[in-house]
């Protein structure tokens, strides 16, 4: 019964007659998609070619003006959040500071954030090498990776973040379901 239904669904989805097509819209070229697609998956599949290390990142952190808002070596004190943890690695992650390159579940999240949102006023101007280098620097500052580790398309998604698996997954969303079963009483 179940498998029959599955076959029926597959047939329906596969048949061009099922696809409701108004014939509106244009197919973008592969190059157009690549140019716009800045979403970086935890698998890193969309990461561009390039490489960087913490040492290069430290220089960029000065040159690009990051110090002005995040403080020297990201220690804070300016108008933007601190980027270097002051707590020890023996402290449980959820009791440590809410710092992106420390708490993020994936190093790709750090890369994505810098690539989209930094630096203030010049967003989207960093080259891939620079984003790899700044990511490496911030992860090094928070003792996530060693200073000499090269980050690139292959190594970045493999970085083990301190949070590990210790974070909540969002509930499966369905039409007409309460946001939390049995809440508040």
């Amino acid at each position: 019964m179940g498998s029959l239904r599955l076959v029926a669904i597959v047939l329906l989805l596969g048949s061009p007659a099922f696809a409701q097509t108004y014939g509106v819209g244009r197919t973008p070229t592969a190059d157009e998609i690549r140019a716009l697609d800045i979403s970086i998956s935890p698998t890193g599949e969309e990461l561009p070619l390039g490489r960087g290390t913490a040492k290069e990142g430290a220089q960029l952190f000065q040159q690009k003006g990051c110090v002005g808002c995040h403080g020297r070596a990201g220690i804070g004190g300016g108008p933007a959040p601190a980027l270097q943890s002051k707590t020890g690695q023996d402290v449980p992650i959820w009791e440590r500071e809410r710092i992106l390159p420390l708490r993020a579940p994936f190093a790709t999240t750090v890369w994505d954030f810098i690539n989209r949102g930094m630096p203030l006023g010049n967003e989207g101007t960093l080259k891939p090498d620079e984003v790899y280098a700044l990511t490496a620097y911030l992860l090094f500052l928070n003792k996530v990776i060693p200073e000499d580790q090269v980050l690139d398309k292959q190594s970045l998604p493999k970085v083990k973040m301190p949070i590990g698996d210790d974070y909540a997954r969002l509930p499966v969303w369905k039409h007409g379901t309460p946001r939390l079963q049995g809440y508040p009483y």
Binding site: A19, V24, L36, L100, T109, D112, R116, A168
Partner: protein, 427 residues
């Protein structure tokens, strides 16, 4: 019928000539010099109002009376103060205390931004929406393309995740002003996804804006196919720049930040992407994570509310707004004795799914000190809790400054003093 039409046309013609005459002279009739058609026979005591000249601006794009001065304010008490350390205003709150309907005028709709008061100035002729990823046919739509497709028009609220009330807010604008409701027109995302053909492995989608940070959020594909709306219209005209011109996604009932403005790209994917905006939703506790996602049932009394003054004992219709991310509002109850007795309020129009719903409750104030509150229930049975009930759920002692975990949809009390002054019941 015919004669009626003629007489009305003549009347209109006469009126136009009159207005034209004033415009030519560049003046309005002085008070006391009533125009000839103003036959005030036997009503000498009636005030004679000055006239407003129909300027080019007023004819082309009208404006409200200069007696109406209700304005938005920089939201002072949210998670992020406005103005912030950079001097920028991130959050702008809507004057709910002056709202008299369900729709928030576009000029008064609340605004939240990522980088302060700046917004992109997008040429709609150049703007496109690209849908790609796990689809059979990636497609790019121009604004013209989108307007060719079947459209829907729906009322929906948007509420900012930072719309939390505590004892610090003096007015309902300060405590609850980061929610608004507008009429949105556009194409259902499901229509576009059917055009592209979803692959079986599609489970999430990422919506991305064209603003400076290219803000992006991961959302479940089930929501995309259910009721997400790609909106180009707001309250009968183009979406305003502060609200995402020329295109935004409406994700009805989800926290404000998901309703991506300046929408330029939707990527269909097979996992949660944990990108720019997603990190903001990272939580340790799955229950708390669930409460920071879909908006709960919430209501607030807007009249009488904080900083207002009741002129004396007697009749007042208590008025307010109720909304829920779970669907339409089913019932609203009002208490005028600090929560001892709850009374069914009147719902003012047919409640819409994920839209503000106006309620009213007739009340005779006896002049004594009291506290007024409202609570609502939505169509799937979710009930708005008091802060005490929330604390009990989490098994923590209830204190005056208790912070509700997740999005705050707790009951809001207003205190009425003997002199008629209304203040924050949490203060």
């Amino acid at each position: 019928m015919g004669s009626k039409r003629t007489s009305r046309r003549e009347l209109l013609k006469g009126g136009a000539a009159l207005a034209g005459g004033f415009a030519a002279l560049g003046q309005t009739p002085a008070s006391g010099q009533a125009p000839e058609h103003d036959h005030a026979s036997g009503q000498a005591a009636a005030p004679v109002n000055p006239m407003i000249m129909g300027t080019k601006e007023l004819i082309e794009y009208g404006q409200r009376s200069h007696y109406v001065t209700s304005v938005r304010i920089a939201h002072p008490i949210g998670g992020r103060p406005s103005p912030d350390d950079f001097g920028k205003v991130f959050h702008v709150a809507s004057p709910l205390q002056d709202s008299v309907g369900v729709i928030t005028p576009s000029s008064l709709h609340y605004v939240a931004t990522t980088r302060g008061s700046y917004m992109p100035d997008i040429d709609p002729k150049q703007h496109t929406l690209m849908i790609h990823g796990l689809v059979d046919r990636p497609l790019t739509f121009t604004m013209e393309d989108l307007k060719r497709l079947p459209s829907v028009t729906r009322l929906h609220f948007i509420e900012c995740g930072g719309n939390r009330h505590n004892g610090r807010g003096k007015t309902v604008q300060e405590t609850h002003g980061m929610t608004s409701c507008a009429e949105w027109t556009g194409v259902l995302l499901s229509t576009l996804l059917k055009e592209c053909g979803l692959k079986g492995s599609a489970t999430w989608f990422v919506a991305e804006g064209a603003e400076e940070v290219k803000g992006a959020s991961s959302m479940p594909i089930a929501k995309a196919m259910d009721d997400c709306l790609i909106a180009y219209g707001m309250n009968g005209e183009a979406v305003r720049p502060q609200n995402g011109f020329p295109l935004r996604i409406m994700v009805p009932g989800f926290e404000g930040i998901f309703n991506t403005k300046y929408l330029r790209r939707i990527k269909i994917v097979d996992r949660y992407y944990m990108n720019y905006n997603d990190f903001g939703h990272l939580d340790k506790d799955p229950k708390e994570a669930a409460l920071g996602f879909q908006i709960g049932p919430k209501s607030v009394i807007t009249y009488p509310s904080g900083a207002q003054l009741l002129p004396g004992r007697g009749f007042y219709e208590i008025k307010g707004l109720a909304w829920s991310g779970g669907g339409a509002i089913r019932t609203v109850e009002v208490s005028t004795d600090g929560g001892r007795k709850w009374n069914r309020a009147e719902i003012k129009a047919t409640p819409q799914r994920m839209a503000h719903t106006r309620f009213g409750y007739p009340w005779n104030w006896d002049g004594n000190e009291t506290e007024i509150l409202s609570r609502c229930t939505d169509e799937i049975g979710q009930v708005q809790p008091t802060r005490e009930q929330v604390a009990k759920y989490w098994n923590v002692p209830f204190e005056r400054n208790y912070r509700v975990p997740g999005l705050d949809n707790s009951v809001m009390p207003w205190k009425i003093a003997r002199d008629g002054s209304v203040t924050n019941g949490l203060a």
